[in-house]
C-alpha cells in the first residue's frame, strides 16, 4: 500500500496545544489525530470530533442481559422444569431480581469493553504506527495529514510558530492500524472551536 505523508508537531503544554489546534484547523489543515499522555478535556471538541456513542451500546448490552436473565429463568421455572419450592409461585419475579441485575451489569460491562477494543482496534499482538514515543509520557503529538497541495516545510514552520517544541515529517501506511476514524467521526463541518 502506498505510504502517506504526515507532519508531526509535538507540544509540551496543553495550554499551548489548544490555541494551536484552533489555528491549524482555521488554516484548513486536516488534523489526523492528536496523541496525548492523558485525556485532555475539551480536546475532542476542539478537534471537532463527534461525541462517542459507546454508552448507548452499553445500554443495549445491558438490556440484552436483563432480557436473557428474565427469559432464561422464566422459561426454566415455568416451562422447562417447574419445581415446587415451598409452595411458592413458579413465576417468582422478586426472587429473580438479583440474578437479573447481575447479568445486566455483566453483559453491559463485557459488551462495552469488547466494543471499545473493537472500535479503537486494541488487542494484544497488534502493530500500530507510533508517531512519537513520548506521546505516552509528556508530549502532546499533533499529526497532520498531507495532501498533494500541502507544503510540508510551511506547515512545519507554522506549527513551530504556534508553539510546537519538535516537528518532523513521517511516512506511514494508511490503514486502520493508524487509528483512522470512520468518515462520520471526522466532522470537520462543526467549526466551533472551544479553547
Amino acid at each position: 500500500m502506498a505510504k502517506k505523508k504526515f507532519v508531526v508537531g509535538c507540544f509540551d503544554d496543553e495550554a499551548v496545544l489548544f490555541p494551536a489546534v484552533k489555528k491549524v484547523r482555521t488554516a484548513g489543515y486536516k488534523i489526523h489525530d492528536i496523541y496525548t499522555p492523558f485525556p485532555v478535556h475539551g480536546l475532542d471538541h476542539a478537534m471537532g470530533l463527534r461525541e462517542t456513542s459507546l454508552h448507548t451500546a452499553g445500554f443495549i448490552y445491558g438490556i440484552t442481559g436483563t432480557t436473557t436473565a428474565l427469559s432464561g429463568i422464566g422459561w426454566v421455572f415455568t416451562k422447562d422444569w417447574p419445581v415446587n419450592i415451598g409452595g411458592k409461585p413458579h413465576f417468582d419475579l422478586p426472587a429473580w431480581i438479583p440474578i437479573t441485575f447481575e447479568l445486566t451489569v455483566l453483559f453491559a460491562a463485557v459488551g462495552m469493553v469488547l466494543t471499545f477494543c473493537y472500535l479503537c482496534q486494541l488487542s494484544p499482538f497488534i502493530k500500530k504506527h507510533h508517531f512519537h514515543e513520548r506521546a505516552t509520557d509528556d508530549l502532546f503529538v499533533m499529526v497532520i495529514e498531507c495532501t498533494e497541495k500541502t507544503n510540508s516545510d510551511d506547515l512545519q514552520a507554522f506549527l513551530r510558530t504556534n508553539g510546537a517544541v519538535e516537528v518532523n515529517v513521517q511516512n506511514a501506511e494508511p490503514g486502520w492500524w493508524l487509528g483512522l476514524y470512520g468518515k462520520e467521526d471526522q466532522l470537520i463541518r462543526d467549526t466551533q472551536v472551544v479553547a
Partner: protein, 481 residues
C-alpha cells in the same frame, strides 16, 4: 495560563516539584529496577504460605470437610467467615475506583489502581472458600445453569446461594475489566520507556497497542464513567447478596432486615483498613510518598471512622431488636450467646466491639488521623475486628440451635482449616507482590490529568498569581501569546 482551577484551600494531591515526565519516572521506577531484598523476602514468605494453603486444600479435597472441625450444628465455620471477610475487603477497591469517581473525589487517583488490584485478589481469595466448602469440588460446575443430561436439572434461581455465584463472578469480571481498561494507557507508558526488547514486547502485548489518540481517550473516558456507574450498584449488590445468604434464613441472629446496609458498611470499613495496610507499605517501599500523601491517608481514615460508626449503630440496633422483638430465640442469641462476655463465645463479640466500634473513634482527632503509625496499627485492628464480626454472626448463631440436644460442643478450627485461611493470604500477597513489581501501581495518566490543578508546585504558582496586583499580572502575562 491555566485551563483548570482548584481552590487553594484544598491540599495538593501530588506533592513535590513534578512535571509530566517526572510522574512517569517516579511511578515506572519500581518496574524498571531490580526488586529489593525486601521484595524477595516478602514474596518468598507469601509463596510459602500459599504452598501450605495448597496442601491444606489437598487434604480437604482428599478426606472431605471433616478435615475442618465443622459438624452438623456448625456447618459454616472459619471458611464462610473467611469468604465474607475477603469479599468485604474487596469492596473498598470498588468504592475508591467507582463510587469516588462518580462523586468526583480527586484524591482517589493516587490510590485507585492498587486498591482495585486489592479488590481483584481479595475476590479471588474469597471465591476459594465456598467452592471448597462444597466438599466435592470437582462437581463445582453444577452451580452453573447449563443444559445438561440430568433432566436437564437447573440450579435453584430463587436461592441466595446461587445469587452469590452470579454476584461474585460478575463482580470479579467487571472489576477485572475496569482495572485492565484503566491499565492500558499506563502499560503503553511503560512500553514506550522500555529499554530492553523483551520488556518492550511484553508491555506492548499488555498495552494492546494503545497510542493515546484523542478519539480513543474520548471513548476511554466514556467507558470508565459507565463502568463506574455499573460498578457502583454492583458493589452494593454483592455484599447485599452475601448478607441474603444469612438474612433469608430463619436462624436467630441472621433473620434480620438490617443485614444488607450493615454488611455493605462493614465491607467498606474492613476494605479501607486493608487499603491502608497496603498503601502504607507501598508508599514506603516504592518511595511514593509524593503521590499517596498524608491527605490521602486522612481521607481514608475519615471513611473508616464513618463506616465503623455505621457498623456500631447496626450492632446496637440488633441488640435493641433482640430485646424489643420479645422473641425468645432472638433474645437468647443476642443477649446470651453474644453480648454476655461469660458465654462460650462472648469474648469474640466483645473483641469485635472493641476493634470495630470503640477503637476507630480515635480518628475523630486530626492528629491521630494523620499519624502513620496509628493508622497502620488501627488498620490491622479493624481487619481483625471485622473478621470477628463474621465469626460472631456465623458461629454464635449456629452453635446452639432450636434443639438443645444438637447443641454443638465448643467449636475450634483445625490446623487445616486455619491453613486454608493462611493460604489465601499467601495467594493474596503473592499476587500483590507481583502486581507491585510489574504493574504501574499508581494510575499514571490519571495523576497527570490532575497534576496541573492539584500538584503542589502548580498550586503554588496559581496562589502567587492570585495575590498579584492586576497591574503586575497584566505586565507579567501581557506577552504570553
Amino acid at each position: 495560563m491555566h485551563l483548570k482551577y482548584e481552590s487553594q484551600l484544598r491540599e495538593p494531591l501530588v506533592s513535590g516539584n513534578k512535571d509530566y515526565h517526572q510522574v512517569s519516572e517516579d511511578i515506572c521506577r519500581p518496574i524498571e529496577v531490580k526488586p529489593t531484598k525486601l521484595w524477595y523476602v516478602g514474596f518468598f514468605i507469601a509463596i510459602t504460605f500459599l504452598c501450605f494453603g495448597v496442601y491444606c486444600v489437598y487434604r480437604e479435597v482428599t478426606y472431605g470437610i471433616g478435615q475442618w472441625n465443622l459438624n452438623k450444628t456448625i456447618g459454616w465455620g472459619w471458611d464462610i467467615t473467611n469468604f465474607v471477610w475477603w469479599v468485604g475487603i474487596g469492596h473498598a477497591g470498588t468504592l475508591i475506583s467507582a463510587i469516588l469517581l462518580l462523586f468526583r473525589q480527586g484524591w482517589r487517583t493516587g490510590v485507585n489502581r492498587a486498591a482495585e488490584a486489592m479488590t481483584i485478589f481479595a475476590v479471588m481469595c474469597a471465591g476459594q472458600f465456598p467452592v471448597f466448602h462444597m466438599g466435592r469440588v470437582w462437581m463445582a460446575f453444577f452451580v452453573l445453569p447449563y443444559p445438561n443430561t440430568r433432566g436437564p436439572l437447573w440450579p435453584n434461581f430463587n436461592s441466595p446461594l446461587l445469587w452469590d455465584v452470579f454476584a461474585i463472578s460478575t463482580y470479579l469480571t467487571v472489576s477485572l475489566l475496569f482495572w485492565y481498561s484503566g491499565l492500558l494507557p499506563d502499560f503503553a507508558t511503560v512500553r514506550d520507556r522500555a529499554k530492553t526488547k523483551l520488556r518492550k514486547m511484553l508491555y506492548g502485548v499488555a498495552a494492546f497497542g494503545w497510542t493515546g489518540s484523542t478519539k480513543h481517550w474520548q471513548r476511554h473516558e466514556s467507558l470508565s464513567l459507565v463502568l463506574a456507574g455499573l460498578s457502583t450498584p454492583l458493589v452494593l449488590s454483592v455484599h447485599t447478596i452475601v448478607s441474603f445468604d444469612f438474612a433469608t434464613s430463619v436462624i436467630p441472629g441472621w433473620h434480620t432486615t438490617i443485614f444488607p446496609p450493615y454488611f455493605v458498611a462493614g465491607a467498606v470499613f474492613s476494605g479501607f483498613a486493608m487499603v491502608q495496610t497496603l498503601m502504607l507499605m507501598l508508599r514506603k517501599v516504592f518511595l511514593l510518598e509524593d503521590y499517596i500523601t498524608m491527605g490521602h491517608i486522612e481521607a481514608m481514615n475519615k471513611v473508616i471512622v464513618l463506616t465503623g460508626s455505621i457498623v456500631g449503630v447496626a450492632y446496637l440496633t440488633e441488640l435493641f431488636m433482640g430485646w424489643y422483638s420479645q422473641n425468645k430465640f432472638e433474645g437468647y442469641t443476642f443477649w446470651y450467646s453474644r453480648a454476655n462476655l461469660f458465654s462460650p463465645y462472648g469474648w469474640s463479640y466483645w473483641g469485635m466491639m472493641a476493634c470495630n466500634v470503640i477503637s476507630p473513634q480515635i480518628f475523630w482527632f486530626r492528629k491521630l488521623r494523620r499519624n502513620i503509625y496509628v493508622t497502620f496499627f488501627m488498620s490491622i485492628i479493624v481487619n481483625i475486628g471485622m473478621w470477628f464480626e463474621r465469626f460472631v454472626i456465623i458461629v454464635t448463631s449456629l452453635y446452639r440451635d432450636y434443639l438443645p440436644s444438637s447443641w454443638s460442643p465448643y467449636y475450634s478450627p483445625t490446623i487445616w482449616e486455619m491453613g486454608f485461611y493462611l493460604g489465601t493470604f499467601g495467594l493474596f500477597f503473592t499476587c500483590f507482590f507481583l502486581f507491585a513489581k510489574y504493574f504501574p501501581v499508581i494510575a499514571i495518566a490519571e495523576i497527570k490529568a490532575v497534576l496541573k490543578t492539584s500538584g503542589e508546585n502548580f498550586k503554588e504558582t496559581v496562589g502567587k498569581e492570585e495575590e498579584m496586583q492586576p497591574e503586575t499580572f497584566a505586565h507579567e502575562y501581557a506577552h504570553a501569546h
